[in-house]
Amino acid sequence: MSRAWRAAMLAALLAVLVVALTPYVWIILTSFKSRLDALADHPVWLFTPTFAHYPKVFIDKQYLPLVWNSALVASSSTVLSLVVGAPAAYVFARNDFAGKEDLFFFFLTTRMAPPISVVVPMFLLFTAVGLTDRPAAVIIAHTSFNLSLVVWMMRGFFADIPREIDEAALMDGHGRLGAFARVLLPLAAPGLAATAILCFILSWNEFLYAFILVAFESRTLTVGIPGLVTPHGTLWGQVAAVAVVATLPIVIFTMAVQRHLVRGLTFGAVKG
């Protein structure tokens, strides 16, 4: 690659970075701004920081348990999606049965309707079984979205593993279940990790269903934020503080498994 190319690429990367990160940096800054600074006509970059928003919202307004709720919902729905979806994806990758591709497509159709169109029926369903305002309702709802993601992504990862690996595992003394759990799953680990992260992020960030299905103790962080929009105005500093805390686990998590994530997301795209 020539020097000019390199420079152009770097400039492009920089532009993308600026566009992507400016809002995030802005939120971090806002979480330390006083109310006046946050609402200044001409946005200020330099200001005297205040550390009041964090304790105010998390301690005084008791938002701390919401972090736990979000974590519980996101991790439970991720685990549930994988536990149900990965074996299903494996069967789609390995077995042939009547209507297989139709069924596979059906999984995707669950994501085709705008989420809001299903929210009322789902609310009625959960009310009927008495699950509203419990984390279980949100966990199940999120699992139902994530399942299609897991099945669609994991099928590709399993399909990329040669069939002979399954057969070698069978010859080595496993049953089909053992071959799947002990040999295929570890081999699909990068894909599993990538899928898990996407599921976790989608669930963690989801607002609509979490908002409709739970109201009080079980609220997630995303649902908590609108509570800071008061009749007297939006408490921008506190909103920003919650937003920063809400993004932290994702940032840390993604950085920790970045290598796997990139490998997982491009896995199968390029055949070696």
């Binding site: 042939d96 040669p162 057969e167 070698a168 010859m171 003394g173 496993h174 002990r182 040999v183 570890p186």
Partner: protein, 351 residues
């Protein structure tokens, strides 16, 4: 331990008949080669024996016991795959140890057996590597070690040498023969390479279009091929087979006339191995006059591709030299004891 295929057929969902009522039996300690061109059903037969494929009809017996419905893990068989099928996330050592671990061997035994097997296959210094750090030949050895380490009753090999380069293939072949002798395990080896089959097998099952054509020792398959197909498939260069007609005890094919006393008149296929064709001078009375087309010197062999009219023949003279060149006229003799006869319609060997 005796293994028997009894009327085993396999029809795939798309209607392909991979195996057509296969009957085949062999004994413990044999090195059985399933040989055939692609689509002959050899791999399917091997996979049915392993339990990786269910037959559409027929049964598989081991020592008279029907094992057709048993899952692979209960059959006491192992398998070496063409693409090795090593577990990429485990080291060579863990790969070899895996069947022992899954089958619940005691920890102390596992280490001893893995190291002994690695020693036997000369991969003792590669045990810490992962499959992608191994060359094709090394990966193949690890796969063989994994298949043999737990001392299965039968080791199945599906074209295990096809992905190796020529020299390595020869070495590994020798190695397998040695392993078979030392371990006294029954080997079932699938290949499309007749040379591999001839060098490895104690007996060779030749398959074609899902049917067993001949099951015999390499020597008998070579000397007494059951059909024209076997005759042409075994041996390089292939046996000369000539379509012709018998009239008055003489076989005629174009300009070629060979006396075949006692043969009934009618169409016939005459066969003769290239090395049985005798090259003589053009002027000898009994000789068949032919013209040399091409001369191939593959030391120490000499192959003469000749023709007389429409009929083409290959003559192979081991160690002898000739100064014949393309376009030269020479004479050939086809000694009567070396002649093979096949039915023109069915291809079946005639006495």
């Amino acid at each position: 331990m005796a293994v028997a295929f009894r009327g085993v057929s396999k029809v795939f969902v798309d209607g392909t008949v991979a195996l057509d009522t296969l009957d085949l039996g062999f004994e413990t300690g044999e090195f059985v080669v399933l040989l055939g061109p692609s689509g002959s059903g050899k791999t399917t037969a091997c996979r049915i024996l392993a339990g990786l494929e269910t037959p559409s009809a027929g049964v598989i017996e081991v020592d008279g016991r029907d094992i057709t419905g048993l899952p692979p893990r209960e059959r006491g068989m192992s398998m070496v795959f063409q693409n090795y099928a090593l577990y990429a996330h485990r080291t060579a050592y863990q790969n070899i140890a895996y069947p022992l671990r899954v089958r619940g061997a005691p920890k102390a035994d596992i280490d001893r057996m893995v190291r002994a097997m690695a020693e036997m296959l000369r991969i003792g210094d590669l045990l810490d590597r992962r499959p992608r750090q191994l060359s094709g030949g090394e990966a193949q050895r690890v796969a063989v070690a994994r298949a043999l380490v737990w001392r299965p009753d039968i080791c199945l090999m599906d074209e295990p040498l096809s992905n190796l380069d020529a020299l390595l293939r020869l070495n590994t072949r020798t190695e397998l023969k040695r392993l078979h002798r030392e371990l006294n395990t029954t080997f079932v080896f699938v290949t499309h390479d007749q040379e591999e089959a001839m060098s490895l097998g104690t007996r060779i099952a030749v398959l074609r279009d899902g049917r067993l054509v001949q099951f015999d020792t390499p020597g008998r398959i070579y000397r007494e091929p059951a059909t024209r197909f076997v005759a042409e498939f075994i041996g390089r260069p292939a046996m000369n087979t000539i379509d012709g007609v018998v009239a008055d005890g003489v076989f005629h094919a174009g300009a070629l006339a060979v006396p075949v006393p006692g043969r009934p008149p009618g169409p016939l296929v005459l066969g003769i191995r290239p090395e049985d064709v005798v090259v003589t001078g053009a002027d000898e009375a009994a000789a068949i006059a032919v013209t040399v087309d091409v001369v191939e010197r593959i030391e120490p062999d000499l192959l003469l591709f000749v023709r007389t009219g429409e009929v083409a023949l290959v003559a192979r003279s081991l160690g002898k030299t000739t100064d014949a060149g393309p376009g030269d006229a020479i004479g050939l003799a086809l000694p009567p004891p070396a002649l093979h006869f096949f039915d023109a319609a069915t291809g079946v060997r005639l006495p």
